[in-house]
Amino acid sequence: MKRPHRRVHFLIWLLIAPITAVVGFVFWQMRPATPFTELPPGVEAVSETLRDASEAH
């Protein structure tokens, strides 16, 4: 009987750890109220409506 070699565990973590850490950190940096924020389309639409209304006045 052949067991999954423990190197498989190591290689899986070698793949998962950096990807999750980097992607997680980058996404966290893009949360609202940070300079990297990407506003959801719905919020941007409301924002544009408000801006247009403000300019109209």
Partner: protein, 355 residues
């Protein structure tokens, strides 16, 4: 299987362990709720249901973090091997807490509309191309499905039916599930969280678990590579006979990626596969107890010379031919069929340490 192993998992030890676990979960959730209600009361009215959903989620994530740390910690320090004994019960408890988190969130956020709650979970928020608005619930749902499959197949019935390698490979899905949960938290709770406590705790937990796995794996990889495989007429030179501690083993890598556990018991040396029939546990990290090789994980036992469990059990593991020449232990890398009797190599007086 060994005579010390009980097929029925419920015994006094496990019942006490489960009661302590449930009590710890209850205390953690209560304290979390109390602190949450206390700290948020001054700002805005904290909804107890939403706080409970979060408390259950934090508890499940913390439990999964502990579970994932147990494996590498036990590999780094044999003193922690007993913790492995109850890991499956802790895993099932984690699934139950995660179920409560999932169920409550589904009812609270997705059951009041005309859509099926499961459909609503995936389409009520269509912002899949956005980062701050991403429907993070979908990531948690996939992770929950993996935990469900693992909990459903956690019993030895499934281990025996699926075979140990398949079962182990299936349960290694917990690694991507954990990564999905990290992203579920990052894209969910952390998007609106003002305090640095949650990001630090989540990042710290993930770095600890991944760091432990990488460190333990790297150490074993180096140990394998450090074993210089000298072949003499097809046999592999393992070590000197007295380099093997009495009643214990030296683990050596084989050319095809398997490992052999070479045991010394008194003046005899025998070699068997390093993989236990139960859960592929590392037999070479166990000891010879009552004349039988005893797996450190759950106590399954095998006779060193033929790899057969003592009666009334019938499990068999592969054995390897061993010989001693010029005060060196040699192993034939070709495994014998499971249960094949081999002659133990006998250590002569020349093999005993002088002085």
């Amino acid at each position: 299987m060994g005579h010390q192993y009980k097929a029925v998992q419920w015994n006094g030890n496990k019942i006490a362990y489960d009661l302590y676990t449930v009590a710890a979960v209850g205390v953690f959730i209560t304290v979390f709720m109390a602190i949450g209600l206390q700290t948020q009361a001054s700002g805005h009215v904290a909804d107890p249901v939403i706080l409970l959903i979060r408390a259950l989620g934090v508890t499940a994530f913390a439990m999964l973090t502990i579970i994932l740390a147990i494996g590498p910690l036990a590999r780094l320090s044999p003193r922690l091997l007993p913790v492995l004994y109850n890991r499956r019960h802790l895993g099932v408890t984690t699934f139950l807490v995660a179920s409560a988190h999932f169920g409550l969130a589904l009812v609270w956020y997705h059951s009041s509309g005309p859509l099926n709650p499961f459909v609503s979970l995936f389409i009520s928020n269509p912002l899949y191309d956005s980062i701050p608005g991403f429907p993070f619930e979908s990531l948690g749902f996939v992770a929950f499905l993996i935990l469900f499959v693992m909990a459903a197949t956690s019993h030895d019935f499934w281990l025996n039916n699926l075979s140990a390698p398949v079962w182990k490979a299936l349960h290694m899905l917990v690694y991507p599930a954990y990564a999905l949960l990290v992203m579920h938290i990052v894209l969910g709770a952390l998007m609106t969280e003002k305090s640095m406590l949650y990001p630090v705790m989540t990042g710290g937990a993930f770095l600890m678990v991944s760091g432990l796995h990488l460190y333990a794996g790297l150490r074993e990889w180096r140990a394998d590579n450090g074993m210089k495989l000298f072949k003499a007429k097809g046999w592999i030179d393992i070590c000197a006979p007295m380099d093997i501690p009495d009643m214990r083993a030296v683990i050596a890598p084989l050319p095809k990626g398997d490992r052999v556990a070479v045991f010394r018991y008194g003046d005899k040396i025998s070699a068997v596969t390093n993989a236990c029939r139960h859960q592929n546990g590392p037999l070479g990290e166990g000891r010879v107890i009552d004349g039988c090789i005893t797996c450190p994980w759950h106590g399954w036992q095998y006779r060193p010379d033929d790899g057969i469990s003592p009666p009334p059990f019938t499990e068999k593991i592969a054995t390897y031919n061993v010989k001693i020449e010029n005060d060196r232990v040699f192993v034939d890398p070709k495994p014998n069929p499971p249960g094949t009797r081999t002659s133990p190599a006998i250590i002569s007086m020349e093999g005993t340490p002088s002085g």
